[in-house]
Symmetry: C2
Subunit: 208 residues, 2 copies
DNA sequence: ATAAAATATGACTAATCAGTCACATGACCA
DNA sequence: TGGTCATGTGACTGATTAGTCATATTTTAT
């Protein structure tokens, strides 16, 4: 977590530094991300970074936190499906919200993908806890859906969670790749909506 | 590709070097993998590496190639399903073979995961071609299955490929994580077989 | 035995890195 | 004005990196 010094910074300066640091850690592996490059781009002295944060790891974990809050904040703003929504409608909403959030905060999203997809060169308790919370969210969703009879109860919950999480995780990549020539303007396009619908339909009814 | 000098090396020395290099690149990001550490472990001079390979990138791409061949070779050894097998039986066989190969060659598999999952700090034509070949293999499989009526033709082939590839890609991780306390001996266990069956069944019939 | 070709070596270069610290500059209050 | 505290600074340390190259050793052919 940042030191008080960082929080005391004028909004403008703090935001500028944050954006540059986010960009660096979103674009490079933890070990390759360079504090030196960040301070050069930000036009500040290297020592300043260590007035703001304990070390590189502290800065990185803060950036993860900031990114998480940005994404979560956005997701919670999107209107949730009404309470009568079934498992698949809820999933569809979550898919859409997650991808839209990644559209709105592409740098934050890239940073989070990096942070969660490949193992970090250090252990962090808080970070691991966040992972578990995300897992338990899905576990609960699945368990509830199964007891409500919306989900085939032959399947073990952990397998359902695996399938759903795999697809959700890769979908962002897939869309980004698919629309990489149409920067940004595919946010709520029918094409994307159709993709969501198709994935949900496959999950619901199967391929056969 | 390695220089002739490397290929002239006595089998024993070559294999020892390869294993140490594979381990280093499987365990570290490309930028963090250290030639210096490799030569220290191998007990050879640093200059020797540059008698064997043009540079770090050349070595890395060769290791990817070696890993690919090891995995492919193993997969092709496993008895293929008979020619009357449908799409899902073929998929099931490919799943099993891939995971078994990752069991037999865990280091190679880790290296390949790293190479294909996160973007490399350089571009390589050969590498990209290999990616496309893998994609086209699935495309063909899906197209054939759809025209044979084994696959719901409502779905766009690219979406089916996306779903199947996402699950196949994550399944290795999932199993590794699930059995991380039972090193190695879950190779052909009923537990694993059941997992394959369940994933295939979900794909086939859906979750509802 | 001798010459030539192939291979092995490790000290060295130039670059980069995270992190430190003595000092400078600024703000704020008495 | 003088004093205290927060903030900013950038040269510096020690470690590490990929890659080079003149030299040494070994192998091969004559």
């Amino acid at each position: 977590m940042p030191k008080q010094t960082f929080l005391n910074l004028p909004e403008e300066k703090r935001a500028a530094f944050l954006n540059i640091a986010l960009e660096e850690f979103a674009g490079n592996e933890y070990n390759s991300a360079s504090i030196t490059k960040i301070v050069e781009k930000a036009g500040i002295a290297k020592g300043s970074v260590y007035q703001y944060f304990r070390d590189k790891q502290d800065l990185f974990l803060y950036l993860v936190d900031v990114s998480n809050q940005a994404m979560m904040g956005f997701i919670q703003q999107t209107p949730p499906p009404d309470s009568s929504a079934d498992f698949f409608q809820t999933l569809r909403w979550q898919m859409s919200a997650t991808v839209l959030a990644a559209q709105q905060f592409p740098v934050h999203a890239r940073l989070l993908r990096r942070a969660y997809s490949s193992p970090l060169p250090f252990q962090d308790e808080v970070f691991e806890k966040a992972r578990q919370v995300r897992d338990q969210h899905f576990q609960a969703l699945v368990a509830q859906a199964q007891s409500a009879g919306q989900l085939d109860s032959r399947y073990r919950p952990e397998m359902v969670v695996f399938v759903v999480q795999s697809l959700m995780g890769e979908l962002g990549n897939f869309l980004q790749n698919k629309f990489k020539d149409h920067p940004g303007d595919w946010v709520g396009s029918p094409e994307v909506d159709a993709t969501f619908d198709e994935v949900i339909e496959i999950l619901k009814s199967g391929l056969a």
